[in-house]
Amino acid sequence: MGLLFFYSFRNLLARKLTTSLTAAGMSLVVFVFASIVMLAEGLEKTLVDTGTYDNVVVIRRSAVSEVQSGIDREQASIVETSPQIAIGEEGQNLIAKELVVLITLEKKKSNSPANVTIRGISENSLALRPQVKLIEGRMPRSGTSEIAAGLGIAKGFKNIVIGQTLFFALRHWTVVGIFDAGSTGYNSEIWGDVEQFMPAFRRLVYSSILFKLRKSSEFEIFKINIETDPRLTLEAKRETQYYREQSEMMAKFLRVLGETLTIVFSVGAVVGAMITMYSAVANRTGEIGTLRALGFNRATILLAFLLESLLLGLIGGIVGLFLGSLMQFITVSTTNFQTFSELSFNFRITFEIIYKSLLFSVGMGFVGGILPAFRASRMSVVEALKEN
């Protein structure tokens, strides 16, 4: 069977231009498919990584995100007294009452305004997020009009330099620090003292409460307590779960977009492969006759031509995947539909994307090749030999 494989492979090599063009068509489809799935994967990864499993986010019941949530001070105090909250090194409760609002800032590249998440933080906010590292300057002090920005914001928006001031909520705010939160969503936020932001934005309520669990297993007890307490209109989610839900809508949109484009494109690529394979069969009728005369049966002929088409698909798949994998070096910054705020993330390739893309491209080869291969195998030996 090795020789048969060589036969198929060398036939592809013998028709370099046709093979390249057909494979290029297929690689384009695989590229589109892989890129969009990589984008959705990158988005999910960024948001899921943003959360920590042992952290709990408390928001107003039925609010989809922190932006839509509101927790008044009285309810916040009740949550603060829960026994499930972990105690920090200095004996304080590891809890942060935070405010999340959106403002618009001008982007560096396009000069167009985009929504940016402003997070009012408490003393413990940084301690609750070990993935956030200060890389320049310092964190904002409480009681001052100071802010720190995530690296994604510093790179993508104008005037985010230490010492510069930004004007929003009718006040001037001085940038005192830049922090790097890795591939997480915090990289696309600006942080400042919550007690300064609340009056500035004229908000009477917090948006969310974040705390670390004393014991990871106590989440369920806390959740039941808080959701059955008649004084509270709140719900609790693990932080990881909360951020996974944030990515759902957009990731789904990207996936549906990717699949739709792929289906439309793949029809073209399959037809291309079919034309290539039909012409291969037509050009090699004499060869088919010879092989059959030598004693190769119909099934072997079918297999040889199908193998050729599968190889064609595989070549297209590998090229497309290679091009797609280059997208990993690109960072995308766009608005997350669910939070209406700017979020920057990378294309992300996974093993699942690799094997699905290759399977898909080989599948295109199969669909494009099966009919021509069937035709080749059904030829009459004598008629085929006459073609030589």
Partner: protein
Amino acid sequence: MGPSGSGKSTLLNLIAGLDKPDSGSIIVQGIDISLLLETELAKWRADNIGFIFQFYNLIPVLTAFENVELPLILTRLSKNERKKHVLTALSLVGLDDRMDHYPGQLSGGQQQRVAIARAVVTDPVILVADEPTGDLDRLSARDVLNLMENLSKSIGKTIVMVTHDPRAAKKAGSIMYLDKGVLADVPQTSFQECV
């Protein structure tokens, strides 16, 4: 031998198991091959028949060695055994030094010799040759005919050959004439004149 359209190639195709008769039977070595199924017939061809075609019918993307190896894939021989057989067949036709050449790199005569090596490599019972010198110049045709004569005499291969070429016919042990589908020991007058 016989004039064009007399049915020579059709008869050869029937004997070689490439075609099936509309009626009657074809018995080769005691087996009625007209009764065999498609797959059985393919296997029977692989085991019993070696083909030599007018236009050589080599696979252009395979080397001389691989072309000769092709029919051996259908046998149970190991890779090493296959290699041995191929080298023997190629040296028999005097082309062992050209085994890595592709058909496009060989002359017509050399290609036909590769085709002969491919036909004999499985040690078939019968070699069928359809106009084997039809596409060759005089010298190459002579070489190919000599080679076939040697094969027939030295290793005792039965060769059934269809030809228009009187020089080819001269090498034959017996000649049958075909005209309008009828076989005869002597040629029809018109064809005799032509020969």
